[in-house]
């Protein structure tokens, strides 16, 4: 396993392992994420890529019996240090989930503002919401129905609403867990375009099991694979163009050429 020489890293893991009860799902991963770049985590189902992602904002630990060992460094500070508040961590590291999960009882506007931007006037809150919705390429579609239920939106619109909700908190890193898994090809294309444009402002780490998507949207790609004891391991990480053309590890080559997974 080789790490990319990236001095501009914002987020890094150090010997990170994640468990569900006794089962180790991710083992000893050390990886750096480049600032304002899109890093794609690829690998076959069950390789631990989603679990790894969920360790990066400490959402893994909300599941029963789930725990983490090792360190995750955000700008050099361990987010698992005892004096680190997970709420503050999640404020700085936002997340978009596999299935759109707008809050069903809140309006579109209140969904975007749900992160709780305190101390802002009504006017300023509207500005925050508009900026986030514009950044998520959703503003024009919802600007006339901000007070309505998000459940009337299409799946792709709901997912962009969730992206707007995440970036309204102005996080430094945006984690995306297969954000297009439940969307049709057109909605997928919109989200992919969005990921590229958001990378100018945010550091993005995205899980995908679609290799074409990784090739299209990411600057860096990390390949994960479960070993014979079902522990997810990081196999290789490199610039996307290199990883897909000249993989160093034969297992990476097997995967990207479609020999398994």
């Amino acid at each position: 396993m080789t790490a990319v020489a990236a001095p501009a890293e914002i987020l890094a893991t150090d010997d990170l392992s994640a468990y569900y009860g006794e089962h180790k799902a991710v083992g000893d991963v050390s990886i750096q994420f480049r600032r304002k770049a899109v890093t794609a985590l690829i690998g076959p189902s069950g390789c631990g890529k989603t679990t790894l992602l969920r360790c990066l904002n400490r959402i893994h630990e909300v599941l029963f019996d789930a725990r983490v060992t090792g360190r995750v460094l955000l700008d050099g500070h361990d987010i698992y240090a005892t004096d680190m508040d997970p709420m503050r961590v999640r404020r700085r590291i936002g997340m978009v989930f596999q299935r759109p999960n707008p809050f069903p009882t809140l309006s579109i506007l209140d969904n975007v503002l749900a992160c709780g931007r305190h101390g802002l006037t009504r006017e300023q809150k509207l500005q925050v919401a508009e900026r986030a919705l514009r950044a998520a390429a959703l503003w024009d579609e919802v600007k006339d129905k901000l007070k309505t239920s998000p459940l009337r939106l299409s799946g792709g619109q709901q997912q962009r609403l969730c992206i707007a909700r995440a970036i309204a908190a102005e996080p430094e890193v945006l984690l995306m867990d297969e954000p297009t898994a439940s969307l049709d090809p057109i909605a997928t294309a919109v989200i992919e375009e969005l990921m590229c444009s958001l990378a100018k402002e945010f550091t993005i780490v995205a899980v995908t099991h679609n290799m074409q998507q990784a090739a299209r949207v990411s600057d860096v790609t990390a390949f994960m694979l479960a070993d014979e004891t079902r522990i997810g391991r990081l196999i290789e990480v490199d610039d996307t163009s290199k990883l897909f053309t000249k993989p160093r590890d034969p297992r990476t080559e097997d995967y990207i050429t479609g020999r398994f997974g």
């Binding site: 904002n57 959402i59 909300v62 029963f64 709420m87 503050r88 961590v89 999640r90 404020r91 936002g94 997340m95 989930f97 299935r99 999960n101 707008p102 809050f103 069903p104 009882t105 809140l106 749900a114 992160c115 709780g116 239920s149 459940l151 009337r152 969730c162 909700r165 995440a166 908190a169």
Partner: protein
């Protein structure tokens, strides 16, 4: 089903497809039996309803709804004080049971594993199985006997004990049906566990919780046994929860066992009122639940 396309003779079929006629007959038999039982159940319910309406509707008039009971021999009188008493006793019980039941339900839904939550669940299940007369006796021992004074509040306390297990388990269930992804979405925005629950999860579960509350109220509306030695009953307009108070189902009981035909007629009238109240509460609960289901699938 038997269109021209499927005109294949039974004898031409491979053996594994044969015997369709017998299966069809069995299916017909089973469906018919189930339908028959359903009709028997519905008929007995309708018979009860119809009988109570027939017996009770004659007793119901304005005076019956608004007047206090008259002494024996004085014609007329009503259950107005009992209706008010029911509202007060059940109202106080609800005000006490709702916060405790709801917060316990939230606790169980959020931190539902371990010794304490499991024992809470077990105790709550046990409590829901305790006969209401025993709960009434407990309220009597705790709140009546020491003060040597019957009171509406002791009845509210007994009703609260009856409502609690229902509220605890149903609000836990309601909160659990909110998808984990919604809760994680809130946590991922940096919300605290408590805020995510109050602001996001609870509103999503609210229709189901209101349904549970209405059903719990309907449950105690029909209770009589715990009232016998707590609220005790009263002939007067009594609104002070510290005093004995009239209650509708208690009045039905007292009137029904009396030897006077005029009181017996009023017992039927009171029974009809109780059935209507429970009917309205259940209908409301169903409508709320239907709304909740629509909201989730939308």
């Amino acid at each position: 089903m038997a269109s021209s396309v499927s005109a294949i003779a039974e004898r031409d079929l491979p053996a594994r497809y044969k015997g369709l006629g017998r299966r069809r007959f069995n299916s017909f038999l089973g469906t018919g039996l189930a339908l028959f039982c359903a009709l028997v159940a519905a008929a007995s319910l309708l018979a009860i309803l119809g009988y109570v309406v027939r017996q009770g509707v004659g007793a119901i008039n304005w005076e019956f709804l608004t007047d206090v009971p008259h002494p024996i021999g004085v014609p007329g009188g009503g259950v107005g004080n009992g209706i008010v008493g029911s509202l007060i006793i059940i109202g106080i019980a609800t005000l006490m049971a709702l916060p405790v039941g709801l917060l316990t339900g939230i606790y169980l839904a959020l931190f539902g594993r371990g010794v304490l939550p499991e024992s809470l669940r077990f105790l709550s299940d046990v409590l829901s199985g305790v006969p209401s007369i025993a709960i009434g006796l407990f309220a009597y021992a705790l709140l009546v006997a020491p003060f040597k004074h019957f009171s509406a509040f002791s009845a509210s306390f007994a009703f609260m004990m009856l409502m609690l297990p229902l509220l605890v388990r149903t609000s836990e269930q309601a909160i659990r049906t909110v998808p984990q992804t919604v809760r994680e979405g809130a946590l991922a925005l940096g919300m605290s566990n408590f805020r995510a629950t109050i602001q996001i999860v609870l509103p999503t579960a609210l229709p189901a919780i209101v349904t549970a509350l209405l059903l719990a109220i309907a449950r105690v509306t029909g209770e009589t046994a715990p009232l016998l030695f707590t609220a005790f009953g009263s002939q007067f307009w009594e609104t002070n929860p510290g005093n004995p108070m009239a209650e509708l189902s208690l009045q039905v009981f007292t009137y029904a066992i009396s030897p006077y035909p005029s009181w017996q007629a009023q017992a039927w009238g009171g029974a009809l009122l109780l059935i209507v109240a429970v009917f309205v509460l259940s209908l409301g609960a169903r409508l709320m639940l239907a709304r909740a289901m629509r909201g989730l699938s939308e």
